[in-house]
């Protein structure tokens, strides 16, 4: 259950960003999570309100964009979909592929509320 640690790191980043943007509250957060990041989106979703409680991200919405597992094959030059436990080229079966996406654990975008928005 390292998802709580991940959420706490996320909240720390949100507070830093909000400070820089001179925003008072976080409204919505979009993160990208791939299966090979080792983080479970559902657990992240459940841990988020716990980490956000008492911060300026309290009551904000966490949106998670699932990132697909995609590999590139240097042998046949093709890109293909893969699963987390089988990163083989779907075209020629080569196992020496490189990962195009699927290991992301990124903060993509944050929506803030500034004081003036209330006025």
């Amino acid at each position: 259950m390292h998802e709580l640690s991940v959420c706490q790191a996320l909240i720390a980043q949100l507070e830093e960003l909000a400070h820089r943007e001179m925003a008072q509250r976080v409204e919505r957060v979009l993160v990208g999570v791939g299966p090979l990041s080792g983080v479970e989106p559902q657990l992240l979703q459940r841990a988020y309100p716990l980490a956000a409680a008492g911060t300026l991200a309290q009551d904000s919405e966490l949106a998670i964009e699932d990132r697909p597992v995609r590999v590139h094959c240097p042998q046949c030059g093709e890109d293909s979909d893969a699963s987390a436990s089988r990163l083989l080229c779907a075209h020629c079966g080569n196992w020496r592929t490189s990962l195009l996406s699927g290991d992301e654990l990124i903060l993509i975008q944050v929506e803030f509320i500034r004081e003036k928005d209330y006025v």
Binding site: L17, E21, R28, L36, G38, S85, L87, R96, I106
Partner: protein, 272 residues
């Protein structure tokens, strides 16, 4: 490249912030700020800092990961017995509770710092940094970081190590690489441990374990060994020798040695 205007948004995410994109502006006119930064960037930053420390003192740092009971401490004891005269070794031990593992290492005459994580299921770069304050890095050639026994969480946190070593004991299943792809994809070396038990086990096939590792696009060496049979450690000790040399060469050229797989944030953010 900045973090605020969206100029660092990768192709796959452009649609999110393009004019009229679902997150560009909200109905209430709230400001949407594009970030594209690793969620663990603070940890990644601390890890890069640790790595600089290791490099400036010529210390090779190796992260040992596995499930509980696969023989990490036993392998370290046998390694110290074999290499203790040639290299100055130190160990950082990660466990939820007790100093037991650190005490086992100290009995071999090697300095060991125990990190007790309480309920945390992994080490992070900050914990390792704190532990480093108790070590004189000038007196160390190889630092082993024995992570918390867990095949899930430790894989997501960069500690500043140069190489990841994942142990798989033959009393576990040979399908472990398929079940825990994040962990095994990150391995620079897989140690199949307790192979002295293979004759009494009919359900573990080392070739199948290797095959499952290759299916993760990982070409890392898979070495069979038993801490109870020192003669089986030859390839492992040779690998350590090679990595010490490799690290020295990198340091002399002003380069940093890194694990094969970097956490996402490292390459996103230029810390790699």
């Amino acid at each position: 490249m900045c973090d605020t205007c969206g100029c660092n948004v990768t192709h796959g995410n452009q649609h999110l912030i393009a004019a009229g994109g679902k997150l560009q502006k909200t109905g209430q006119g709230n400001e949407a700020v594009s970030v594209l930064k690793s969620l663990l960037s603070e940890n990644d930053h601390a890890a890069a800092h640790n790595r600089q420390h290791f490099d400036s003192h010529g210390v090779l740092a190796l992260n040992l990961m596995s499930s509980p009971g696969s023989g990490k401490t036993a392998l370290l004891e046998a390694t110290i017995d074999a290499l203790g005269n040639r290299y100055r070794i130190a160990v950082v031990e990660g466990d939820l509770e007790t100093e037991n593992d650190a005490e086992r290492i100290r009995r071999r005459g090697v300095q060991a710092v125990q990190i007790t994580t309480g309920t945390a299921c992994h080490l992070d770069a900050h914990m390792v940094h704190t532990a480093l304050h108790q070590l004189n890095l000038d007196d160390i050639d190889i630092l082993f970081i024995e992570n918390v026994g867990n095949l899930v969480c430790p894989a997501s946190f960069d500690l500043g190590q140069h190489r990841n070593i994942t142990l798989l004991s033959v009393t576990e299943g040979d399908d472990k690489p398929s079940k825990y792809p994040v962990m095994f994809r990150a391995a620079d070396l897989v140690a199949l441990t307790k192979v002295d038990l293979l004759p009494v086990l009919d359900d573990f096939d080392p070739d199948r374990a290797s095959g499952n590792l290759r299916a993760l696009a990982n070409a890392a060496p898979v070495l069979e060994m038993s801490a109870r049979q020192p003669e089986t450690l030859r390839a492992w000790l040779q690998w350590l020798d090679d990595e010490v040399q490799h690290h020295h060469t990198h340091c002399e050229n002003g380069e940093t040695l890194r694990p094969r797989i970097q956490p996402d944030g490292a390459h996103l953010h230029g810390l790699a």
